[in-house]
């Protein structure tokens, strides 16, 4: 009798994880729409709002979830703070490029970047952590490289945006993995460390009458302050999902975001040239090989 209710509880636990991950990736996938809405605001100002408003909103959530001890614990170790500061640097650069890309009508490249991301992760593992590639992983990384080179040579443009987004996000991920700080406290500390700089920058913009915030319409100011919750909420959902699901499931689901971004990019009428299409096809195939390999690897390791 009790085992049945335990099973039901476990199923509910898993279902909540899948739903949380689904909503998180949906939000990340349609995130470009928000940056299109604040199109008239320069990317640097949008970035300052993401940082500034994420701090009070993050604090509110940390308070309700009673996670302050985790924050205090992280601050008691200088090396943890140092690594989080470095991570903050990478993630803010990633955010800035992302916002800029969306406003420059490069949503497709942003989407490409997040497809490449897991492959970049593997590549960094090989280069810096001396990991060895399985054959399927090698094939998918090479295939991705072929796709990117094809776009560079035939399309006449190296996808700087995609590659830098993927690289910055991977470096961020690698650093965050090294420090044992939870997702929410981690994001809070990162944005808190960036807060003074963002505040100084925004103050300067406002004093020199260049800021859209406060100077423009009220609705625009409110929309800009929404950047905080929009940064925090998907990560909160991701954190909930991450401790309920295995990495393999998360690994599959992560491609929801770039897929939606791709759809959003097409929806905004971005041009999909033949070179783009060839590149995307290479990447999609690489991602498929990569995922299937990960699936079988996981299956072989765990018997249940």
């Amino acid at each position: 009798m009790s085992t049945r209710s335990e099973e039901a509880a476990e199923r509910r636990f898993q279902r909540d994880g899948v739903l949380s991950a689904l909503v998180a990736y949906l939000l990340w996938g349609v995130f470009p729409v928000y940056f299109k809405l604040v199109q008239t605001v320069p990317p640097t100002e949008v970035l300052t709002h993401r940082i500034i408003w994420a701090v009070p909103f993050g604090a509110l959530i940390l308070h309700v979830r009673r996670q302050w001890p985790e924050v205090r614990q992280a601050f008691s170790s200088p090396s943890t703070v140092f690594w989080l500061a470095l991570a903050a640097l990478f993630i803010s650069a990633n955010w800035l490029i992302y916002i800029w890309a969306v406003q420059q009508e490069e949503v497709l490249q942003a989407s490409l970047g997040y497809y490449i991301n897991p492959l970049m992760y593997v590549l960094v593992g090989v280069l810096f952590l001396k990991e060895r590639l399985r054959r399927a992983q090698l094939v998918s990384v090479l295939l991705a490289a072929v796709g990117v080179s094809y776009l560079t040579i035939m399309g006449g443009q190296f996808p700087f945006v995609a590659v830098s987004l993927a690289l910055l996000f991977t470096l961020y991920g690698v650093i965050r993995k090294q420090v044992a700080v939870g997702a929410m406290p981690g994001l809070f500390i990162e944005t808190l460390l960036l807060f003074p700089f963002a505040m100084a920058w925004l103050s300067w913009l406002m004093l020199s009458q260049q800021a859209e915030f406060g100077d423009g319409s009220v609705s625009m100011s409110l929309l800009l302050s929404l950047a905080g919750p929009l940064t925090v909420v998907p990560l909160l959902l991701f954190a909930i999902a991450a401790r309920r699901l295995t990495l393999t499931v998360i690994g599959f689901m992560q491609f929801i975001a770039p897929t939606l971004q791709f759809v959003v990019g097409i929806f905004y009428g971005e041009e999909l040239t033949t070179a783009h299409l060839v590149c995307f096809t290479c990447i999609w195939t690489a991602v498929a090989i990569f995922s299937i390999d990960a699936f079988y690897q996981q299956k072989g390791r765990a018997a249940f």
Binding site: D16, S20, I61, V64, R65, R66, Q67, E70, G173, R176, K177, A180, V181, G182, A183, M184, G186, L236, L237, A239, I240, A242, R243, L247, I250
Partner: protein
Amino acid sequence: MAISLGFGILFATVITLFLVPALYLLQIDAITHIRYLWDLLLGRPERSESSA
């Protein structure tokens, strides 16, 4: 008058015996769901959420 009393009783019977209990059940269900969602999103995490 007898007719109006009769209809009043008929009407009130439906309200007190069916509508009011049904509304209470709806309220309990809604509270359960909202509390579940609240705990899921904002409850204290049972173990540390180390980043994946």
